[in-house]
Subunit: 421 residues, 2 copies
Amino acid sequence: MLVFKNYFSTDFCASEEKLEEIIFEKMLSEKDSGEIGYYTLHESQKETIKEIEEFKKSNIPYSKSLIKNVIVIGIGGSSLGAKAVDNMLCSLENRNEIELIFLENCDPVNLDRELEGIEAKESLVITISKSGGTIETLSLTKYILERFDLKFGSEEIKNHFVVITEEGSPLEQFAKENNIKAFFLPKNVGGRFSVFSAVGLLPLSLVGYDVEKILDGQKEICSRFFAKELPELMKKAHFYTKYAHKYSINVLFSYSSTLRELNSWYVQLWGESLGKINAQESRVGLTPIGLVGSVDQHSFLQLIVQGPEDKSVTFLKIKDFKNNKTIPNITIPKLEKTDYVNTKMMQELLNAQCDATAETLIEQGVPVDVMEIDCLSEKSCGELIYYFELLTSCSGAFLGVNTYDQPGVEFGKKRLVEKFS
Amino acid sequence: MLVFKNYFSTDFCASEEKLEEIIFEKMLSEKDSGEIGYYTLHESQKETIKEIEEFKKSNIPYSKSLIKNVIVIGIGGSSLGAKAVDNMLCSLENRNEIELIFLENCDPVNLDRELEGIEAKESLVITISKSGGTIETLSLTKYILERFDLKFGSEEIKNHFVVITEEGSPLEQFAKENNIKAFFLPKNVGGRFSVFSAVGLLPLSLVGYDVEKILDGQKEICSRFFAKELPELMKKAHFYTKYAHKYSINVLFSYSSTLRELNSWYVQLWGESLGKINAQESRVGLTPIGLVGSVDQHSFLQLIVQGPEDKSVTFLKIKDFKNNKTIPNITIPKLEKTDYVNTKMMQELLNAQCDATAETLIEQGVPVDVMEIDCLSEKSCGELIYYFELLTSCSGAFLGVNTYDQPGVEFGKKRLVEKFS
């Protein structure tokens, strides 16, 4: 179970508490009206899971265990979620041997590196684009179609290529005309909130994860939040947005290398959802930063401790790593001072570092909160991701922005096209 | 050659320009007096390069080409630099097949992942610690000594284990007593400025890079800066620090996946050097953020474009990627609107995206500067890294901090020890 605690004062006055009530109602209405689809993916995607199971049986190379690589072509919300989950859960026993490769950037060096030794006949390519117009995704798709010699209408393209898109999009039509399987992203689910739709569930299921359990995690937090059992979540969003001018930077300090990609997913969710012009025509937003502990204690911590007091810090820890390692009882002469952790488990050191750093910052008056998951499991992953999604919706409502659009990224696109005309 | 241009106003008044003069003199004196050693590593490390060449010949498994993995155990300044360079240059022809593995975090899952299939007899382990007291580094070293069965005083430890430390440290003494080769980090070079000492040069040379050319890059920028041929660098530091309250966040937007780790290296350098209590007892500093283009256009750009106006942005691009790829001339029906890049090179798209985004932000009044390197080469890498180091020294001098210490990270350490007693 996900547990979390705020170490900052959340005593708000009566009128402010009333605002919390209004925001709660707004979210409830977004959910119940179906206006915003991510809230209930644990219900709506049950069908998608069946469809995925069906696909795994009917796709010839996959069902014959000939697939060694699943290549996801997508960018932003189309890749960050599945990457975060796979990075987090890759030590699970049910994770199979299939490599999960993400092609996001039109970087020639990186492309060579990612595709080294990869053969078409052992690969399943998934192109993910809501509208079909993302220039990187389409360019990389064309590159792969050529490199893998997947011809339109051929048996090979049918067996080795899948798309995930919005129903009725040009990409769907293309798929239909070429006997290519298409999965759908619901219209009411935005890219960065789409990890628990086919966008994430398909690749994650293909590499062996139990995606139903992920949705169970989402369901659990959903029930608790909408039963008003998670007041700390609302309070945190309230505090963050009320003090957005003072604490304009929110650090997510995750104590495990397995959470590095989750940080990147969070950075997109938080930055792109909240950095907006609000209803009062003000430019608002909060700047997210993802850190990995203990590594970044040796990189960024100095700035938090002695630099400008403009940061809040969320510590995220894992209670129990299942595959553990002990620090051997070896003494290096003259370095006996490092022996205090000998015979301890590595996770004990890692979590003690998290606690020591959190306590130090709390003592300094930095707004700190601590989140802890039981262990690295599908369910805890679902809980965690949904927690951040709800926090984002709450915060967006407090700031008075449209949490679900991204008008600012359109500005450069026209200019890009002009450069090639 | 590294070129760069500031797209913000650097018209300072006469007294401010005088300050630039004072800061230049301070840096010159730090360099010439030998107080700060990183400035002249291109001179002082020539001997180290000879020592490395000697080691490559005398180390039995390396000289017999039996080494398949170089395992660097270090954290923060002991790992970020070499990792950045290897990530940037790994497509060079002289990069050999040896895997370069970095063990930084006491994370049991990650450790399993990094060491999967790695055998002791094919590995060379390098422990890097200036003082020898870094708890993660020492714990991981003990773990590897046990896992690889490297016994004190044995032939194996002599052949497969190396340390990089400060002369006279306990780690050096340990090395001496066990016939282990020790390389030295000069006393006047801090960890995060140490990439062009043995800390970076040894692992980078072992995997095939021409490290002399890296130092040539540093030398070039050093000559130009101290001949006052790079006024834009000083002006940029001046602007950043003068407007630190307004633009408190500095984004490095690097347009290539090969620069991802360089971003992480920069984040440490900038954050840990400048986030300090200054001579006037004020908490000062600038918050660094590293982004990768074009990927993060789909993640963070919205926040820059429409969120709070608290960010400056440095665009970093590569003029010529040598291994290039063409976007095939394939039309996907109904998606003809993506055909405008067909037959173009991927690097053209990537760099056009960089230009389009930079122009959009300049038009919006965001303080933007653009840096460009010729190509991915050892020399350009040396230029780039030294540019950022000089920029950090300049900025630290303007802010009135000690750029080279990190007192803030000590606070949590005592508390950590207490948790185990």
